[in-house]
């Protein structure tokens, strides 16, 4: 399965947020999208998931035009997203949150297997399964959000800033989990501000600046590229 973003343009009112984006993601890859705040990273993921409709260009999963589908159909095709800020359902229990992740899955046995898998990956969620999601700590909520995304049994998982607001030790464990998820055959699209970590994890990366792609390369190459650091900390004078 291959995800293609072609000449994607998105407008919020009169403001052009994405100005002709091209990104492709091959099966089994980890691709990271980097960039400063407001560059359009989250908008890109939201457009792929169908929550934002593009004003031009399109998103294709193999040959299926995702931008013509409703969000709930896109999930059904095997594309799940872990949104920025986690957005767990705070007044629902952990288990209910996870089951909602599998909302489109009819096969009950499969849901059970996925639940087992998620609990294996995040044992803490099993222990807290009856607790309201809003009462979890930030790191636990992030695990829940990822677990909820996995419950959809996705072939492609979009992750939006999974490290946001987490202590470094937790970030590391979340990132190892992402690697493990990828090894189990799930393609990963990772939006991150923690560029170094993201590039160490990813196969390839794109750097976004105000709605355009300014760099695109293999992860190692980007890691060595001083321009990436510039995008975050500014160039040395």
């Amino acid at each position: 399965m291959r995800l293609r973003i072609e000449n994607l343009e998105v407008k919020y009112g009169n403001v052009r947020v994405l100005k002709g984006l091209n990104i492709r993601v091959e099966q089994g890859e980890i691709v990271t999208i980097l960039g400063a705040n407001g560059a359009g990273k989250s908008t890109t993921l939201m457009t792929v998931s169908g929550l934002v409709k593009p004003s031009g260009g399109g998103v294709y999963l193999d040959d299926v035009p995702l931008h013509k589908l409703e969000a709930h159909h896109i999930v059904n095709l095997g594309l799940a997203q872990v949104p920025e800020g986690r957005r767990v359902f705070g007044t629902l229990t952990v288990l209910e949150n996870l089951r909602l992740g599998a909302y489109t899955t009819v096969d009950k046995a499969l849901v059970g297997r996925n639940l087992g898998w998620v609990f294996e990956m995040f044992p803490i969620l099993n222990r807290r399964s009856g607790q309201l999601a809003g009462t979890l700590s930030g790191g636990e909520q992030q695990m829940l959000a990822i677990g909820r995304g996995l419950m959809a049994n996705p072939k492609i998982l979009l992750l939006d800033e999974p490290s946001l607001g987490l202590a470094p030790i937790l970030v590391k464990s979340i990132f190892s989990t992402i690697k493990a998820i990828n090894r189990s055959g799930v393609t990963i699209v990772l939006v991150e501000q923690n560029a170094r970590l993201a590039l160490k994890l990813a196969d390839r990366g794109y750097v976004l600046e105000t709605g355009r792609i300014v760099l695109e390369d293999k992860a190692e190459a980007l890691l060595a590229n001083p321009e990436v650091q510039n995008a975050y900390l500014g160039g040395m004078h």
Partner: protein, 309 residues
């Protein structure tokens, strides 16, 4: 002189049970407000009129079927209530499609005005069809008996009414808590965007909400007809406003809150009418509402939400 303690107690219990019966009706209507508000953040002003429609449809069906005899009636009435619920549910879903869905992305005031318009439309439609005068429910359908409990006489009708509302509320609660669709409704009320990322068709969820709420409201309408015996085309305003108060009292958007708020309001009103002033009965609920909103704007079971700047 010591007051007659027995009489005092009896009056209190009498009013308490009356309050619970009326409160059950408020709660059933309040559920419709709270569910719609939860998902759409809209006060469905027309909900009170769906309740009225329930009362009038119930009357029409009762008269056209010509039920007689107590036993046959009891079963018949049950069937009729289910029919009324189904019909009002369909009207509710149509209302959503026609008056609210086109305004989903508009400012909230537009939707509120549209709701008011829909309410005026329904009220006048009922008046055109049934006339402006009070209509009377057939009163010989159910046995007009009362049972004695610890020296207290309670009309059977009151118990049946209270029981029916409890059954319906429990059913709804289980549906919302236990089923996949129910969880989807709760999720959509918390965060529509995240719900869509889960693959939930939010439009469908909203349709469910507009089927369930009006169904319960319609049932409540018929129950009022059976309990009080007479109905009027404007009764939806009064009941609707009180039920909405109940929903806020419990914490709007919160389903158990609406049930609690409804019962509480019924009891407060009934006791207030007895011990404070009957004439001020209809004002009590509004005074409670204002006090609640000043002291605790999110209601009893509602949660505080911080404003983001």
């Amino acid at each position: 002189m010591a007051p007659d303690k027995g009489k005092v107690m009896q009056l209190f219990l009498e009013q308490l049970t009356n309050g619970l019966a009326v409160g059950g009706i408020y709660a059933l209507i309040a559920l419709g407000y709270t569910m719609v508000y939860g998902v759409l953040k809209l006060i469905n002003f027309a909900h009170g009129d769906l309740f009225t429609i329930g009362a009038y449809l119930g009357l029409t069906l009762l008269l056209s079927l010509g039920l007689t005899g107590h036993i046959g009636s009891a079963a018949g009435i049950l069937v009729l209530i289910l029919m009324v619920m189904g019909l009002v549910a369909v009207i509710g879903a149509l209302l959503e499609r026609a008056a609210y869905r086109p305004l989903r992305t508009s400012p909230r005031l537009s939707a509120v005005v549209s709701a008011l318009g829909a309410s005026i439309f329904f009220q006048n439609a009922i008046m055109l069809i049934y006339g402006a005068r009070f209509r009377v429910y057939p009163h010989d359908l159910l046995p007009v008996t009362a049972i004695s409990l610890f020296g207290l006489t309670i009309p059977v009708m009151r118990i049946v009414l209270f029981g029916a509302s409890i059954v319906m509320m429990t059913g709804l609660y289980l549906f919302v808590q236990r089923t996949r669709t129910g969880t989807a409704i709760r999720a959509a009320a918390i965060d529509q965007g995240a719900a869509r990322l889960m693959g939930i068709d939010v439009n469908r969820v909203i349709m469910y909400v507009f089927l369930i709420g009006p169904a319960l409201g319609g049932a409540a309408g018929m129950m009022v007809g059976l309990y009080y015996g007479q109905i009027n085309f404007t009764m939806g305003w009064v009941y609707g406003l009180k039920a909405f108060t109940a929903a806020i009292l419990g914490g709007i958007g919160n389903i158990p809150g609406a049930m609690l708020g409804g019962l509480l309001l019924g009891v407060i009103e009934s006791l207030g009418a007895t011990y404070i002033s009957l004439a001020w009965k209809d004002a009590i609920s509004f005074i409670v509402l204002i006090l609640i909103l000043i002291v605790r704007p999110t209601g009893i079971l509602g949660e505080r939400v911080a404003d983001k700047v």
